[in-house]
């Protein structure tokens, strides 16, 4: 009784109460108390027979048909006997039914008796009012009309009560209950008519009634089965319509899902169809990501989509639900833990029933649909939702694949772009900055830092909150790390790491490229400087050519100036006042001659005749020339020439010029006289092959340390105005270098200088 909704309960109790009142009022009903005469007992027996045996005898297993026969017996009884007798008949017949069906709840059986009592009494009272006196002649029509009306009252009352109680108990409408259907009405009309015919015949001869009742039962059964067939067809039609609706719904879902590659679209389509099917209070989908072992909750409430929540999938309350392959119906009170775990927003807890439908593919489950409803969904509904879930599973998998591919494609494009940047950007800092931003964008990371190791330093420690450090390797050496931070709730996928490693390799190459480029730029700078020097040299060479030309033209007048000045000086007496002036002329002419000679020497370097020669020969031809000047400066030259020095390839005239230059300098370095030691020897330097070394050691003033590196620069001189041109040593250096040799100097202040020339030995012919 408690299971019934309140209104149904009141209705049942009310009917039972009415039945009780009628039973109590049996002696007071119109027509007097029941008379248990022979006729009534036959009827009672017929009613019980119809109720307990008759139907089984003819058509076993179809209990429902007993009701129709009972109706016919009851209509006949109403017409033949008094109301009190009818109530007793009902009381006895349906109590017997109660005994037969003890498994039905007591209140249902009690109500069954009561409602029949009500219907019988009211129909019997109606018959008392409308029954005609006679039945002969045309009065028979009147009699039949009144009897049919009485039967109709009984039928309507009986079915109204039944329909009402079913409608109240199930919450469905009268139409849906299906008791008051057209098929039922015609069937009942025929049975009512049968009851009336039985009653009519009873007046003439009750025995004839018994004879006719058998074919009448057969007829009634035939009618009934036809009616039932029609009813079955109607039901099948309704069912087919429902199926078609489901198919349409599935079709719509399939169409929607096929065109959706985004999760939002999939959920929109799925939720729309689910709402049509079950009208849930809360609708959510939990997607399971096997790679990251996370569950993503997409919840739809009345106010719309709630923010997506991600939870780890290894909670024990979740496991059972996520692993299910068949739909589960949960009671939020009994399965509180599980429902709580599956409802991050707590919405499912408010529903009376939670249904979990797996979104299953052949080999795995991509997630579950969670529905919060007021009542458990019916079997067909659950089937439909399962089918929808399967379709959604395929769509979700497709979308996941698409997202993964899209991500991969973005990542590949990032790699391509990084490659492009490597080619175009040669500054390490800019490159690293831009590359990091590019990776952040295409992988959806919160942050990327590219940390380079300082030379030889220890690798930097992992920073707080960083998800991973990806080593940047170049030639199997770690030159830095790519450090990444994930966005909240995100996880690294299995595809990410190889992609990132590829990028790290690219970055390694880029860094090395950039470094090489910087190195190359430095070298280019140096080359440019060298070229400038070369240009300077070329300029000097051009100047030399010009100078040679001019010098040659000057030589003739200079010869005259110098000659005549000397001549005049030799002719003037020592005390002549003009002497000083002429001496100036001579001195200046000598200076001019020195300049011209140096310039000529510089210009002459372009043409040289290389031949196999001995250094000693060159020196021996130079020494006599220089000795004269040396003697006048009180300088002695000692030569220690090794007779075994090998031959060299050289232009002897140029070498002589070099020796003269150096010896002249040595003499100049010793204003108070001194000694110059010239020596030759064979040396074997590492890597360069045998060399001939010529050294000139003076005991002069030495060279200031700050001048040491400048003395080979053109126009650098320490000899003071008018004494040196600053071209002697640079020319000497150029000559030596053109011979594939080198010239060096060591000097000690106050102790003298030593010039050393090394020249390669001629290849043995």
């Amino acid at each position: 009784m408690r299971q019934l909704p309140p209104r149904a309960r009141y209705f049942v109790l009310g009917t039972i109460l009415a039945g009780g009142i009628i039973t109590a009022g049996i002696p007071f009903l119109p027509g007097g108390p029941p008379q248990f005469d022979f006729h009534f007992l036959i009827f009672l027996a017929a009613a019980l027979l119809a109720q307990l045996v008759g139907v089984r005898f003819f058509m076993p297993g179809r209990e429902g048909q007993a009701w129709s026969l009972i109706s016919a017996v009851l209509v006949a009884s109403i017409i033949l006997f008094s109301p009190a007798s009818n109530v007793v008949l009902v009381l006895i017949t349906f109590t017997a039914y109660w005994i037969k069906r003890r498994n039905i709840p007591w209140y249902q059986n009690l109500w069954n008796i009561a409602q029949h009592e009500v219907a019988v009494v009211l129909a019997a009272l109606a018959w008392e009012v409308v029954r005609p006196i006679g039945t002969s002649g045309v009065e028979a029509v009147h009699w039949y009309a009144a009897a049919v009306t009485t039967g109709g009252v009984f039928y309507i009352l009986n079915n109204l009560q039944t329909s009402t109680v079913i409608a109240l108990a199930s919450g469905r409408s009268f139409r849906q209950v299906g008791v008051l259907s057209r098929g039922n009405f015609y069937r009942e009309l025929v049975l009512t008519w049968m009851g009336i015919i039985v009653a009519d015949m009873w007046f003439d001869n009750p025995w004839r009634t018994v004879l006719i009742i058998v074919p009448l039962i057969g007829l009634s059964q035939m009618l009934r089965s036809e009616v039932e067939d029609a009813e079955r067809i109607r039901r099948a039609q309704v069912e087919a319509e429902g199926r078609a609706q489901q198919l349409a719904s599935l079709n719509e879902l399939a169409r929607g899902l096929t065109s959706s590659l985004e999760f939002d679209q999939i959920f929109d389509v799925l939720y729309a169809q689910l709402e049509k099917t079950v009208s849930p209070e809360v609708l959510s989908v939990a997607l399971f990501d096997g790679q990251t072992n996370q569950v993503e909750f997409h919840v739809k409430a009345d106010e719309g989509m709630l923010p997506v929540v991600t939870r780890p999938a290894n909670a024990p309350e979740m496991r059972g639900v996520l692993a299910t392959r068949t739909p589960l119906v949960l009671d939020p009170i009994r399965n509180r833990e599980t429902v709580h775990a599956m409802s991050p927003h707590g919405r499912l807890l408010g529903s009376a029933c939670v249904t979990v439908v797996p979104m299953a593919l052949a080999e795995r489950t991509v997630g579950v649909i969670l529905l919060g409803t007021a009542a458990p969904p019916a079997g067909p509904q659950l089937d439909l939702i399962s089918t929808m879930a399967s379709q959604a599973a395929v769509a979700v998998e497709k979308a996941q694949l698409f997202q993964r591919e899209r991500r991969k494609s973005a990542q590949l494009s990032a790699i391509t772009q990084v490659s492009k940047k490597i080619v175009t950007i040669h500054n390490v800092d800019i490159l690293l900055h831009q590359t990091a931003r590019l990776i952040e964008e295409s992988f959806g990371f919160a942050r990327i830092d590219i940390v380079l190791h300082s030379n030889g330093g220890p690798p930097p420690a992992r920073a707080d909150g960083a998800e991973a450090d990806i080593p940047i390797l170049y030639r199997e050496q770690t030159i830095g790390v790519m450090r990444l931070w994930l966005r909240p709730g995100a996880a690294l996928s299995a595809d990410d790491l190889p992609m990132l490693q590829t990028l790290a390799d690219e970055i390694a190459v880029a860094i090395e490229n950039a470094r090489l480029y910087e190195h190359l730029q430095q070298q280019m700078g140096m080359l440019e400087q060298t070229q400038l020097q070369l240009l300077q040299s070329a300029k000097l060479a051009t100047i030399g050519e010009l100078a040679a030309f001019v010098a040659h033209e000057i030589n003739n007048p200079l010869t005259s100036v110098l000659g005549y000045a000397s001549l005049i000086l030799s002719e003037l007496p020592p005390d002549d006042p003009k002497r000083a002036d002429i001496e100036v002329i001579e001195k200046e002419a000598l200076r001019a001659r020195a300049i011209v000679r140096d310039l000529l020497g510089y210009a002459r370097q372009t043409d040289s005749a290389m031949e196999q020669m001995r250094v000693n020969d060159a020196l021996e031809s130079v020494l006599p020339l220089i000795r004269k000047r040396a003697e006048s400066a009180n300088v002695t030259i000692n030569a220690q020439l090794d007779p075994l020095v090998p031959a060299i390839m050289a232009d002897i005239n140029q070498l002589k010029q070099v020796f003269i230059n150096i010896l002249n300098n040595a003499i100049d370095a010793m204003p108070d006289g001194g000694q110059v030691e010239v020596a030759t020897r064979a040396v074997n330097a590492n890597g360069t092959g045998p060399l001939v070394e010529i050294s000139f050691q003076d005991r002069g003033t030495g060279i200031e340390p700050q001048y040491l590196e400048k003395i080979f620069d053109p126009f650098f001189t320490t000899k003071g105005a008018g004494r040196g041109t600053g071209l002697g040593l640079p020319i000497s250096k150029r000559i030596v270098e053109r011979h594939g040799g080198s010239i060096g100097v060591s000097s000690e202040r106050g102790k003298g200088s030593c010039f050393t020339i090394q020249l390669p030995v001629a290849a043995a012919a």
């Binding site: 040679a548 040659h552 030589n555 003739n556 007048p557 200079l558 010869t559 005259s560 100036v561 110098l562 000659g563 005549y564 000397s566 001549l567 030799s570 002419a589 000598l590 001019a592 001659r593 011209v596 000529l600 002459r604 043409d607 040289s608 005749a609 232009d651 005239n653």
Partner: protein, 134 residues
């Protein structure tokens, strides 16, 4: 020194031909050598020098190499041909290696490079006239 040289010149008065197209240098050489006691004749071109050499004998020749017409090298060749014992000093204004080589190969006894000091000229002439030919 020149005075001392002058005294020596009294002992051996040698004949020297000075050839140069430049009058100032020709005169300078002539004066220096005359003052040193040499007997000096001058010629202003190679052709003139050839004539003088064929006309009279000389102990030595001092000649510029580059001159219009016949060069100093031609003069050298003729002189050595006419007087095998004659000593020749060539003067060059532009002492390239090639010129010097050619001069030496032609049999010049000394080569002077302009601009030269009168002392150098005198020294050179004196050297070649007092030493025996190789």
């Amino acid at each position: 020194m020149l005075v001392k040289d002058g005294k020596e010149s009294l002992v051996a008065a040698k004949r020297i031909l000075v050839v140069d197209d430049e009058a100032s240098i020709r005169d300078l050489c002539a004066r220096v050598l005359q003052r040193a006691g040499f007997e000096v004749a001058v010629a202003s071109s190679g052709e003139e020098a050839m004539g003088r050499l064929q006309a009279e004998a000389f102990d030595g020749v001092v000649s510029d190499i580059r001159m219009p017409g016949l060069s100093g090298l031609d003069v050298l060749g003729t002189a050595k041909q006419l007087y095998p014992g004659i000593r020749v000093v060539l003067i060059t204004g532009f002492g390239t290696a090639q010129t010097l080589d050619r001069a030496r190969q032609s049999g010049a006894d000394r080569i002077l490079t302009k601009p030269f000091n009168p002392v150098e000229l005198l020294g050179a002439v004196r050297d070649i006239l007092t030493t025996k030919q190789p």
